[in-house]
Structures are given as structure tokens and as C-alpha cells.
């Protein structure tokens, strides 16, 4: 469990909490009475929901309502003003920016991150599998700066796949993807959930998520 007022920020690991408070090990992610304020404006107030393993939550709402902020709160990047964020799963984030070194080949740029993941298995093998999963194996040696917008988004998705994390936090993952790539995204999410993983997705584009709960903001 991570207290909202905890001063040290970013160590957001798999923290088991006693089951009695509803934020126990059985939950991948749990928000309890979370209030988020940005620039003096209340984005959401006393928000509570939980995502179990194999579960999915879809964050929807109009532009500027705080979908991305909710994802950042879940990732531990943004401290809520009150409430608790808990859950046992290791998190990984797909944000707006690609965060891949532009001059390096795609494979190496992804391997840098894979080596820093909590997953102990060989990073190179994980990256190779992830590149295959998002259909970018053929451009593994191409420098990141030459990738198109859609390919960059798929590369960011490959980093999520390669992380082996239990909880995927995806901020507008369908942005810049063509129809076939959105279908691929849906397949990857389904496979992740089938393997016991959970997802929290903020999106304004339609993504098919069977049995997903909806977190409606605004």
C-alpha cells in the first residue's frame, strides 16, 4: 500500500498489503477515495475502484477531464492529495512520449529499458519476443528517429509487452495506430489478461475490452 502523503515518491513496487483493507494481494490495482488536484483544479474526487488480476478498467471522459492524470497517479508519478493507491502488481507505463533514444537501433533502445525491468529473464530475448508480437521484427535494426508515428507507438507497446509486468497502464494506446494495429493491441491485451495480467486504459478511441469495468470521469 502506498500512502497518499508519503514524501518519498517513486518507489512504486509490488507492495503487499493486508487483505482486510480491501487493497490486498488479490488486487492488481486499487484506488480508494483518491482525489487528484492539478493546477488548483479538482480533476476527480474520492474515486474508488479496484482491478483484479485478469481484469481490465477503461477510463473514459471528455478531453482534459483527467484521464492521463489518473494513469499517472496509478503509475506513482503523481501524488494524489488524498486517498490511497494500492495493489500488488508490478506496473509498467505506456505514456504519451516514446522515451526511446532516437539515434539507437530500435532493438537496443528497447533493450535498455528491458534490462531495467523487474523481470529477471534475459532482456534481449524478451525484446525479440515483444518486437515479434507487435510486428516490428523487420525494423529492429532501424534507428528510432526513422520510425513513423504508428511504429513509435507500437515500439512503446513492445516495451510494455517486454516488461513482463502484471499491470499495464496505457495512456491513449490507440492514438496513431491503424485499424490492423488496434486489432493487434486488443489481441495483446487479451493475451496479457489470459496470463493473469491486468490493464488500466485511458482512451477516447474505441478499444474492444471484454468484461471491462468503466471508470467514468466528469
Amino acid at each position: 500500500m502506498v500512502q497518499a502523503d508519503q514524501p518519498s515518491g517513486p518507489s512504486f513496487g509490488p507492495v503487499p498489503a493486508p487483505a482486510a483493507d480491501g487493497l490486498g494481494e488479490g488486487t492488481a490495482l486499487a484506488f480508494r477515495d483518491v482525489t487528484c488536484v492539478r493546477g488548483g483544479r479538482v480533476l476527480f474526487e474520492r474515486l474508488s475502484f479496484a482491478v483484479p488480476p485478469r481484469g481490465a478498467a477503461l477510463v473514459t471522459g471528455p478531453n482534459g477531464i483527467g484521464k492521463s492524470s489518473l494513469i499517472r497517479v496509478a503509475a506513482g508519478l503523481l501524488r494524489p492529495v488524498s486517498g490511497e493507491v494500492g495493489g500488488a502488481a508490478v506496473r509498467t507505463l505506456m505514456g504519451e512520449a516514446a522515451a526511446l533514444d532516437s539515434v539507437r537501433p530500435l532493438r537496443d533502445a528497447l533493450a535498455f529499458w528491458a534490462a531495467l525491468d523487474a523481470e529477471p529473464t534475459d532482456p534481449q530475448a524478451r525484446v525479440a519476443r515483444a518486437l515479434h508480437a507487435v510486428g516490428l521484427s523487420h525494423i529492429a535494426e532501424v534507428p528510432v528517429r526513422l520510425l513513423s508515428t504508428g511504429q513509435r507507438r507500437r515500439a512503446a507497446l513492445a516495451r510494455v509487452v517486454a516488461s513482463g509486468a502484471g499491470l499495464w497502464l496505457l495512456d491513449e494506446p490507440a492514438n496513431g495506430l491503424d485499424v490492423a494495429s488496434v486489432a493487434m493491441l486488443e489481441r495483446l491485451i487479451a493475451a496479457h489478461r489470459a496470463g493473469g495480467g491486468a490493464v488500466l486504459i485511458a482512451t477516447h478511441l474505441p478499444i474492444a475490452l471484454p468484461d471491462a469495468q468503466t471508470v467514468m470521469l466528469g
Binding site: L78, L93, E96, V103, A115, R159
Partner: protein
């Protein structure tokens, strides 16, 4: 810790690939070449002020890459990804200081040999300058990273960085230039200032980077 090593390697690689190291060295040598033009070809005078000239040039060269030390990583989501992977921002800042020094300190000390030749410094003076730079450049690197973190996200970050960093670097300049003929006392004070900057900068930079995340 392998993660720290990976961060340092990445930053040194980026510094080389972006040409930042070569640019800073060229700038350093140009500044030292400008001085003889400004004060005239008086060998005795140049030999006397040469050590101080090298220190001032080193300070300006350290300022050159400040804009690319933290800003691109904050905008590009790199700090987000590191934070999600459990890195604390002071740790990231410490790695950046180490990487910045590796890419800047030793090459600068090599370039100083060339600059000493251009200014006609004696071997003894060159030795004193090199020893001072060895002690002082880690502090300079720490100050550069802290400044870079503080000005991240500001418009015109580069010019603001100069205003923030140069006054804080004055103690390094005083004791660094003073150590050339001032002996051991100035060297000890230079070491103290450098250590203080090294100890404090990761936390200052870390706090600034943390607030840039939010």
C-alpha cells in the same frame, strides 16, 4: 548496481553521439585562444594569467551542454519510465553527474595540455592546473546537472542556466585559480567546495526532477 551503470553508459553515449563533448572542448580551446588576442602577445603576462584563463574557460565550457543534460529526458518521458521502474530521482541525478563528468572532465584535462601550450604555461603551472581541474571538475559537473534540473521546462532555459550556475561556480573558480600559486590550502578548499557540490547536487537535482514529473 547494474541499473546505475546502464544509466551512466546511456548518458555518456548520448553526450558523444550528440557531439556535445567535442563542441564543449572546441569552445574551451577557442576561449583560451581569444585571450591572447584580447590582452596582446605578451608572453610573460600570458604565462602569469594563463592558469586563471583556463579555469574561466573550463567554467564556460561546463555550461555549454546544460540544456541537454536533463530537459530532453523530462520531455521525452524518460524520467517517467525510470520512476515507474523504481528509480528515485536523486539516484538518476547522481548517475547524470557521473556521466557528465566522465564525458567532460578527462577530455577537458587533455585539452588543457593544448591550451597550456598556446598560452605558454610552464610545466609546473600546467601540473598545478591539471591537479586543480581533477579536484574541481566533479563539483562543476554536479553544479551543471543541478542547474539543468532546476531550469528544465523553462523557456530560454539555456540563458537562465548561465545566470543560475555562474555565480554558484565562483568559489570553484576562486580556489581553483588560487591553487595554481596558492599551494595546498587553496587545493583543500577547492576539494571542500567540490565535495559539498557533489553531496548536495543529487538531492537538489532530484527534487527539481521530481517536481518536473508532476
Amino acid at each position: 548496481m547494474t541499473g546505475l551503470g546502464a544509466l551512466i553508459t546511456r548518458d555518456v553515449r548520448i553526450a558523444w553521439a550528440s557531439g556535445g563533448i567535442v563542441n564543449a572542448l572546441a569552445f574551451f580551446l577557442l576561449v583560451t585562444i581569444l585571450f591572447p588576442f584580447a590582452v596582446g602577445p605578451d608572453t610573460a603576462l600570458l604565462a602569469r594569467i594563463g592558469g586563471g584563463v583556463i579555469w574561466a574557460a573550463a567554467l564556460l565550457a561546463a555550461l555549454m551542454p546544460v540544456e541537454r543534460l536533463v530537459g530532453p529526458d523530462a520531455e521525452g518521458g524518460v524520467l517517467d519510465q525510470l520512476s515507474v521502474r523504481g528509480f528515485s530521482m536523486p539516484t538518476v541525478a547522481a548517475a547524470k553527474i557521473a556521466a557528465h563528468w566522465l564525458g567532460f572532465g578527462p577530455p577537458l584535462m587533455l585539452a588543457t595540455v593544448v591550451a597550456a601550450g598556446l598560452l605558454g604555461l610552464s610545466a609546473q603551472t600546467l601540473g598545478a592546473v591539471e591537479l586543480g581541474l581533477l579536484i574541481g571538475t566533479p563539483g562543476l559537473a554536479a553544479l551543471a546537472v543541478a542547474t539543468a534540473a532546476l531550469v528544465t521546462g523553462l523557456r530560454g532555459a539555456g540563458s537562465v542556466a548561465g545566470l543560475v550556475m555562474l555565480p554558484l561556480a565562483v568559489p570553484l573558480l576562486i580556489f581553483g585559480a588560487g591553487s595554481i600559486d596558492g599551494g595546498v590550502g587553496a587545493l583543500k578548499l577547492l576539494g571542500a567546495v567540490s565535495l559539498m557540490l557533489l553531496a548536495g547536487a543529487p538531492f537538489v537535482a532530484g527534487a527539481a526532477m521530481r517536481s518536473a514529473l508532476e
